[in-house]
């Protein structure tokens, strides 16, 4: 009996004792995630930033913008068409754009851009630092274009950062670009630090291409304030653009980088290939009509031929026969998997100059820069490696002045900047081209002036007003600071 008891108690003590060791609860694969890295180098983050920003610049926002300016049409009644019909809200799967918002700020966005800047400062690499700043300027400037006042100055300070005034954001962006330009000039002389080199998927670390791109970007943001600030803004834009991209070959354009790998493709092309929703975005009649009207040589690069062998687009208000509507399913050049979409380009620079000169009364200079853009071969919309196609440029214009010239400039910019979010900024500012507001049941009487803040931000950040309040007291007319007049009719400044 006693022996049995001893055995029992000894067994009990032995077994209970094994649990006393907390080492059983910690250690390899227990205390830390064995599946993901816990550290990242500056190069790894920088490549990730570029991937993230390619996705932002080619995501749902530009698709929605393309429909709002009716360069694209929407069909099949699903979310793409509904976005084009202004059916969107903070909870929609397009229009709320919570994913795009995250691309601005989260992994691959501002948080990693800032970390690249921190790392670049730590190693004293001005080239890395400057390029990261240009990416930050492009990202935050674009975000402000689409959402107006956005969190920016306090994002690293407050868990619920307040909204910065849009002009304050643009001012910060201008300063950032100034710093970047200065740092790139220094980096050109720095023989120790090499910058990102091939990790720079845009220019391969060529600072001499980044500097004019930064100037063109500055010009873009000056122009964004022109409706509000007038001539001064245009003058600043001219001064900046004169230092901007002057290489007509397209090789100095700030472009995306894409390959045929499934997660490295041009997003518009991937959308056509890999999502059934891709078929829902089609050609917009408004753009196709303009291009048909002047036999624009870019037509085959933009659209597939319709079933009649020509080009046509869909009109949200007046349904067009199916056989007249061009789609993108043939994946024309602009929708090619490897197409390197230009985000900031020579032709934009020239058209900024043209607009700014025209708006400040210098029609002669304006016409020169407009024709500089019109004389381009279509190769500027092709990847630089594709070689010039055998397609003639647009005929040069002459003898055109005043509002007619301004209109020509803006219409040309509308055509040239196809798929680029800048088209809606131009429209808001100038109301050119005069797209007809889509008849809708969502209550909009104008083309929407900007996007709702995503629900994910409003849920947490009390600085974000309710959607109904975002629309404003006059209802469905919401616009950004600087977008002084809602476009109800075509007007020229």
């Amino acid at each position: 009996m006693r022996r049995n008891m001893n055995v029992a108690l000894a067994s009990l003590g032995l077994l209970l004792g094994t649990a006393a060791c907390n080492g059983f609860l910690t250690g390899d694969k227990l205390s830390s995630d064995p599946n993901q890295p816990s550290a990242a180098s500056i190069q790894q983050l920088f490549v990730g930033v570029q991937a993230g920003q390619f996705a932002f610049q080619e995501g749902t926002v530009p698709m929605m913008i393309c429909m709002w300016v009716q360069a694209c049409g929407g069909t099949n009644g699903r979310f793409v068409e509904q976005a084009g019909r202004y059916f969107f809200g903070e909870g929609s799967n397009i229009g709320a754009n919570g994913g795009d918002w995250a691309l601005v700020y989260d992994g691959g966005g501002l948080v990693d851009i800032r970390q690249v800047e921190v790392d670049a400062r730590a190693i004293g690499d001005s080239g890395y630092l400057a390029i990261a700043k240009i990416w930050e300027a492009l990202t935050m400037g674009t975000a402000s274009d689409q959402w107006g006042n956005i969190p920016y100055s306090q994002v690293t300070v407050s868990p619920t950062p307040p909204l910065d005034n849009r002009f304050a954001v643009l001012d910060s962006v201008q300063k950032l670009l100034d710093q970047a330009i200065a740092e790139l000039n220094f980096a050109n002389t720095d023989t120790v630090h090499k910058g990102p080199l091939t990790a720079d998927l845009v220019f391969g670390g060529d600072y001499t291409k980044w500097i004019p791109a930064a100037w063109t970007l500055k010009a873009r943001y000056y122009v964004h304030t022109a409706e509000s600030l007038g001539t001064g803004a245009y003058t600043n834009a001219i001064n900046a653009a004169l230092n901007g991209i002057s290489d007509a070959s397209g090789k100095s354009d700030l472009r995306a980088f894409h390959t045929t790998a499934s997660a490295e493709r041009n997003m518009w092309g991937a959308f056509q290939s890999s999502s059934s929703f891709g078929q829902d975005v089609i050609a917009g009649k408004f753009l196709v009509d303009i291009m048909n009207g002047r036999s624009d040589p870019r037509l085959p690069a933009y659209f597939c031929k319709n079933l009649l062998g020509g080009y046509g687009g869909q009109d949200f208000n007046t349904p067009q026969p199916n056989n007249t509507v061009s789609t993108f399913q043939c994946k024309p050049l602009r929708f090619g998997d490897t197409y390197r979409m230009p985000y900031v380009s020579y032709f934009e620079n020239e058209l900024i100059l043209a607009e700014a000169y025209s708006a400040t009364g210098d029609d002669g200079s304006a016409l020169i820069h407009l024709n500089n853009e019109r004389r381009l071969y279509v190769n500027t919309v092709y990847p630089p490696t594709a070689g010039p196609p055998a397609t003639a440029a647009l005929p040069l214009l002459s003898g055109i002045t005043g509002p007619a010239l301004f209109d020509s400039i803006m219409v040309e910019k509308y055509v040239a900047m196809f798929q680029n979010m800048e088209t809606v900024n131009d429209y808001r500012r100038t109301c050119i081209p005069a797209v007809t507001v889509v008849i809708n049941t969502a209550g909009f009487k104008n083309v929407p002036g900007r996007l709702f803040y995503p629900r994910s931000e409003r849920n947490v950040n009390s600085n974000i007003p309710d959607p109904s309040a975002q629309l404003g007291v006059s209802g469905h007319y919401f616009r950004n600071q600087g977008d002084v007049t809602a476009c109800t009719v075509q007007t020229a400044p």
Binding site: V7, A8, L12, L16, T18, A19, N22, L25, T26, L30, D33, A39, A40, Q43, Q44, L45, V47, G48, Q50, A51, F54, A55, G59, T75, G77, Q82, F87, G89, G91, S92, G99, D100, A102, L103, D106, G107, G108, V155, P159, L201, S262, A263, E264, A270, S274, S275, S276, F277, G278, Q279, P319, I439, T441, G443, R455, N459, V460, N461, S468, H476
Partner: protein, 1111 residues
């Protein structure tokens, strides 16, 4: 002990002297008898035993038993004979073993409250039913058998109050989600812990789509670390590997008040499964065979009058025309009327056939006074209701369970199960390669057969009707449903072994030591193949992966019983548990097949970033439990568990979980009353937890997909061969501790009218604190989420059970059981946030003040509901005013109708759906006449809402029967005919406001496609439907043939014949397939996000015929 010569001599002498007595005792003794109920009915499966000798036998169908006592053990002694069967009070008798035979009959009284029965309470502890301080819900083998379900979890549907079971769909192998007393966690599984014979086992669900992060659009992180399953195929739950016929009984520990002994894994309750064991006595054989006939219980009503096209224009379906391209006018059925005489096709039904389940199994069990054994083998083959060879679930199981008493005080046992589970599934859900989506959207005049064209043998669909020599890789828009059925491959092959070795040691009469070492290993090989020309993946796609799940559980308990005096006694248990769980998931997606077959990653041109994920969790725990019984009427229990887990975080490696309960059998104090034969009040309190997901405290960088427009698009941080990373959007949590659910439960158990009836009433309140959620962060800070112990959830409810036995005679009997339960769930806090998205398809949220899972969606402008500041039309001539002004004097909820005669979207989101039931209940009745038994179960779920996105989509596509009556539209805004006035004549009846209130407007493509089509428009209100139902869940008719000729003719003692029906009839207002559908299955439901229907496969009803031969 060494035997010396001096000791050997007396032994031999004694033996010689004793020889005559020993020889006299060589004759065995046979004890026979018959066991009947107190109503005189013979009782089968009664265990009659002599506990002191370890001998026993089971009664046969005629109630008779026979125990043979070996002559060597007979010495004329008097022994106690005990007869036990669940549901009856045990009987005892004293018999004297004497040469020859002994006869002893028993008459057992019914025991509706299971008084005196041993109840397993988990982690190696047990008690008697009357001592339980919490409500007992027990499901025995008979009820499981009557359910005739392949999935053991599904067999629990309707069996206990507040135990809700939802099957994902009627697909073979579709998973069943089980929840007890509501949602108490946001990231945790919300399904109870499954414990088989003392060892926790895996009941996870893993969607093959989780291997495919690029195409899977679902978003919410689940308890498994995976994502939703709103596309792809249904997913089974791993408890489906259990053969239901092996289950002896199921104890349901409903919440912390009962389950705290399992500590940090028991907040959602525990399901304790005890498998069948052998019993000493003659070897018992059974052979069982059953087959079922299954069909779809409801189909979608589709219109058959309008053809393919748009705005009244018939699509060009000629070769090379519009409908050889997946876009444009061919997509929908808004064309011209189908000419009389043109054939139309029954797309609602043409995919289906009568499915079958064939189940064949055997058991062999028996043993002697020292050894018992149970062997079983079973094969279930469930051929689904969708035509073709790729819709099945097959499970083969083998179980061996044995014990051997090697010493009088030491018994060793082993329990080993093997399951081979193979299934092929059909793609469904939010998926252009899904069978439902392509089928139900097909225009009525298009014949989906043949699915390959006759010339090029290529995939043809209604969006791509005439393949050509060069069209193999052209997009078909939506897959032809028959192409999906016959050409796709979606398979899962699982090999699983689980079981334990155990020991029971009694070093002293008052001390019992139990040890169990268990393991559960499964390897699940998945393969999904989409052939060339599949929509969106025209080059074909292969998803291949493997999930390996491995756990080891060590459990040690020592239980000491003590008696201070005859009136005071109790027990004390001390235990320890070590548990490790390892999950490995490795899979990849290959795109563009090199050759059209085989579906192998190696046969693809491009491969995605692989999913390579592993998790390791270690738990180490102590626990102790004490019971104290006072005057055999007041029973006190207290327990305490200390858990350590690697998931807790280093700052909080251990946590305490207490429980305590009291049960007072007050009728022992006041005496039985004429109407009250038994009464017990009980009160219990317990705390249990939910472990954090692993690795929430790690700050990481991700190489996964970022951005993207829709499924199939997105970038990896790595580009052009240069490795890239992006900050995880999940910010590391600093400190995490387990979630803690505190439950108070009280109730009363009553035996009424001399046990003609019994009732149980329970009230509980469970508050779950420190609930871990991925706290939303302002995305503008750089992170979107962070794990935190931030939320508080509450579940309160009532559970009532009433069983009545109005007629009980030897020849016939009738019983009725009623169950009613209500659970009220409420989110009390989210740590400062107002809502948190938990859905993986819709915007279902946890929202402060609301039940979890409500849908924060979009509705129409309504008075008193929408912001009064909305600017709206005030008159028909272009004036505007605020909604508040327009609504003055109008009732709350009045639908605002704009000047155009239509309602308008509310720009602000609001709660538009609550998927939680108001109450649930069931009615069970059984009738016995001689050997004929008839029983039925009606399952009732009242209230709750479901989002019928399927109908919304079919409205948009113009194929739903609702669109049969339609206005003629030439554009989205120019329509005539089929005029309706909102708020009148059965069209959106209810109060209205606004300038268009009395305006009749045409209802056609303008409404169904551009306003009401919730999946595409984003206005969810038109798609919200009542999810309540009354379902005839089970009907069973059985008859036992045990006439002597059976033995003579086939050598078996009896034959049980059973005809049963499952889900035979559903009464519901829901217009979809079935209100029980669950698009996201267990993964979504486990997060509280049920109530979503989007092209899920239908549910089925079944007739089952079974034969069991007993020997």
């Amino acid at each position: 002990m060494r035997i010396t010569r001096s000791r050997l001599v007396p032994i031999i002498v004694s033996a010689v002297l004793a020889l005559p007595a020993l020889l006299a005792a060589q004759e065995p003794v046979t004890i026979t008898g018959k066991v009947t109920s107190d109503a005189g009915q013979p009782l089968a499966q009664v265990e009659v035993a002599i506990p002191t000798m370890g001998l026993g036998a089971l009664t046969k169908d005629d109630g008779r038993y026979a125990i043979v006592v070996p002559g060597a053990r007979v010495s004329g002694q008097t022994v106690t004979l005990v007869a036990r069967r669940l549901g009856y009070k045990s009987g005892t008798g004293q018999i004297t073993l004497a040469p020859g035979g002994v006869t002893h009959d028993f008459s057992l009284a019914t025991n509706p409250l299971q008084l005196g029965e041993v109840v397993v309470t988990g982690a190696g502890t047990s008690t008697e039913a009357q001592k339980l301080g919490n409500v007992r819900n027990h499901v025995d083998a008979d009820l499981i058998q009557k359910a005739s379900e392949t999935n053991a979890v599904q067999a629990l549907a309707g069996k206990a109050p507040n135990v809700t079971v939802v099957q994902q769909s009627g697909d073979p192998g579709a998973g069943s989600f089980i929840n007890i007393r509501g949602i108490s966690s946001i990231l945790g599984s919300n399904q109870p812990l499954f414990v088989v014979d003392g060892v926790p086992v895996d009941n996870s669900s893993f969607s093959t789509s989780n291997f495919n992060r690029l195409d899977d659009g679902a978003g919410a992180v689940s308890a498994t670390g995976g994502f939703g399953q709103t596309e792809g195929t249904v997913v089974t739950n791993r408890a489906a590997d259990i053969n239901p016929n092996d289950i002896e009984s199921v104890e349901i520990l409903k919440g912390p008040a009962a389950s705290a002994i399992y500590g940090a894994r028991a907040a959602a309750g525990v399901i304790l499964i005890t498998t069948k064991s052998g019993r000493s006595g003659p070897t018992h054989f059974t052979y069982r065979s059953s087959s079922s006939f299954d069909d779809v219980n409801h189909t979608y009503p589709l219109q058959t009058s309008w053809g393919q096209g748009d705005f009244g224009v018939h699509a060009d379906t000629s070769p090379g025309g519009d409908c050889d391209s997946p876009s444009g006018v061919c997509r929908r059925s808004w064309g011209s009327p189908i000419p009389a005489g043109q054939p139309v096709f029954d797309h609602a039904n043409d995919l289906y056939r009568v499915g079958h389940t064939f189940d064949n199994g055997f058991t062999v069990s028996g043993g002697n006074d020292r050894t018992t054994f149970y062997l079983s083998g079973d094969n279930t083959y469930n051929q689904g209701v969708i035509v073709g060879p790729n819709d099945f679930f097959s499970r083969s199981t083998v179980r061996a369970k044995a014990s051997h008493r090697i010493l009088d005080n030491l018994k060793l046992g082993a329990d080993l199960s093997f399951a081979d589970t193979r299934a092929k599934y059909i793609q469904r859900g939010n998926n252009v390669n899904g069978v439902q989506l392509g089928d139900l959207r097909t225009p009525p005049e298009f014949n989906n057969l043949p699915y390959l064209d006759g010339v090029y043998a290529q995939h043809r669909s209604y969006l791509f009707q005439h393949p050509s020599a060069t069209s193999l890789f052209d997009d078909r828009g939506f897959d032809n449903p028959f192409f999906v059925i016959f050409q796709d491959l979606n398979q899962s092959n699982v090999g699983r072994v689980y079981g334990n070795v155990n020991a029971e040691y009694l070093p002293m009469p008052w001390l019992k030591i139990n040890y169990t070492l268990g393991a559960d290993y499964s390897a699940d090989e998945r393969l999904e193949g989409l052939p060339v020309s599949s929509s969106s993946f025209t080059g074909g796609r292969v998803v291949e992966g493997k999930i390996v799940n491995y756990l080891i559980d060590h459990n040690f308990t020592a239980t000491a019983n003590f008696a201070v005096s005859p009136d005071y006694g109790g027990s004390f248990t001390l235990g320890q548990n070590l548990n490790t769980r390892n999950v490995r998931e490795l899979g990849d997606v290959g795109r563009d097949l090199v050759a059209t077959q085989p579906f192998k990653l190696s046969n693809t041109v491009n491969r995605d970033l692989p999913l390579d994920n592993e998790t390791v969790i270690h738990d180490a725990s102590w626990f102790g439990q004490g019971t104290f019984d006072i005057k055999d009427q007041l029973h006190l229990t207290a327990a305490l568990r200390n858990d350590g887990s690697s998931t807790f975080g280093r700052q909080n490696l251990r946590a305490w979980f207490p429980k305590g309960s009291a049960a007072w059998e007050f009728t022992k104090a006041i005496g039985e009353q004429s109407w009250l034969s038994y009464g017990k009040v009980r009160v219990a309190y317990g705390e249990a937890g939910q472990e954090p997901l692993p690795y929430l405290t790690s700050q990481n960088y991700s190489a996964g997909i970022i951005g993207g427009i829709a499924q199939g698009t997105g970038n990896t941080p790595t580009q052009n061969g240069i490795g890239g990373l992006a900050s995880s959007t999940l910010r590391a949590a600093n400190v995490l501790k387990p979630e803690r659910s505190k439950e108070f439960e009280t109730g009363v158990d009553l035996g009424l009218f001399k046990d003609r009836a019994d009732a149980s009433i329970t009230w509980y309140s469970k508050k779950s604190q420190d609930v871990i959620l991925l706290t939303p962060l302002s995305p503008s800070t750089g992170y979107t989420q962070q794990g935190a112990n931030a939320a508080t959830l509450q579940n309160r409810g009532w559970e009532v059970a009433l069983n009545v036995r109005p007629v009980q005679t030897a020849d016939y009997g009738w019983e009725v059981g009623l169950q009613w339960a209500r659970n009220r769930n409420k989110t009390l806090s989210l740590g400062g946030e107002q809502f948190l998205t938990i859905g993986d398809f819709n915007n279902q949220v946890a929202m402060v003040g609301q039940p979890i899972g409500v849908y924060l969606g979009s509705g129409f402008l309504r008075c008193g509901v929408s912001s009064g500041q909305n600017v709206v039309d005030s008159d028909l001539s272009g004036g505007t005013d605020t909604l508040g002004a327009i609504c003055k004097g109008k009732p709350n909820g009045a639908l605002y109708i704009g000047a155009n005669g239509f309602p308008q979207q509310d720009p602000d989101l609001r709660v538009v759906q609550d998927p939680n039931y108001d109450w649930t209940g069931s009615v069970r009745s059984s009738f016995r006449y001689h050997k004929l038994q008839i029983s039925g179960l009606v399952d009732i779920r009242h209230g709750g809402q479901i989002w019928n996105g399927t109908k919304g989509a079919l409205w948009s596509y113009g194929t739903h029967q609702d669109t049969q009556q339609r206005a003629t539209c030439v554009s989205a805004t120019a329509c005539v005919g089929n005029d309706k006035t909102f708020g009148q004549g059965g069209w959106w009846d209810g109060p209205v406001a606004g300038p268009g209130s009395d305006t009749a407007v045409p209802i056609g493509e303008n409404w169904y496609k551009f306003i009401a089509a919730c999946p595409f428009i984003g206005i969810d209100e038109p798609c919200i439907e009542d999810a309540g139902f009354v379902k005839l869940r089970e009907v069973s008719v059985s008859y036992t043939i045990d006439a002597p000729w059976v033995q003579r003719a086939i050598g078996f003692s009896s034959i049980d014949l059973r005809v049963s029906g499952r889900n035979l009839k559903t009464w519901t207002n829901y217009t979809g397939y079935d209100p029980e559908t669950s698009l996201g299955g267990a993964i979504s439901s486990a997060s509280g996000a049920g109530g979503v229907d989007y092209f899920n496969n239908p549910q089925t009803r079944s007739f089952v015929f079974s034969v069991t031969l007993n020997h």
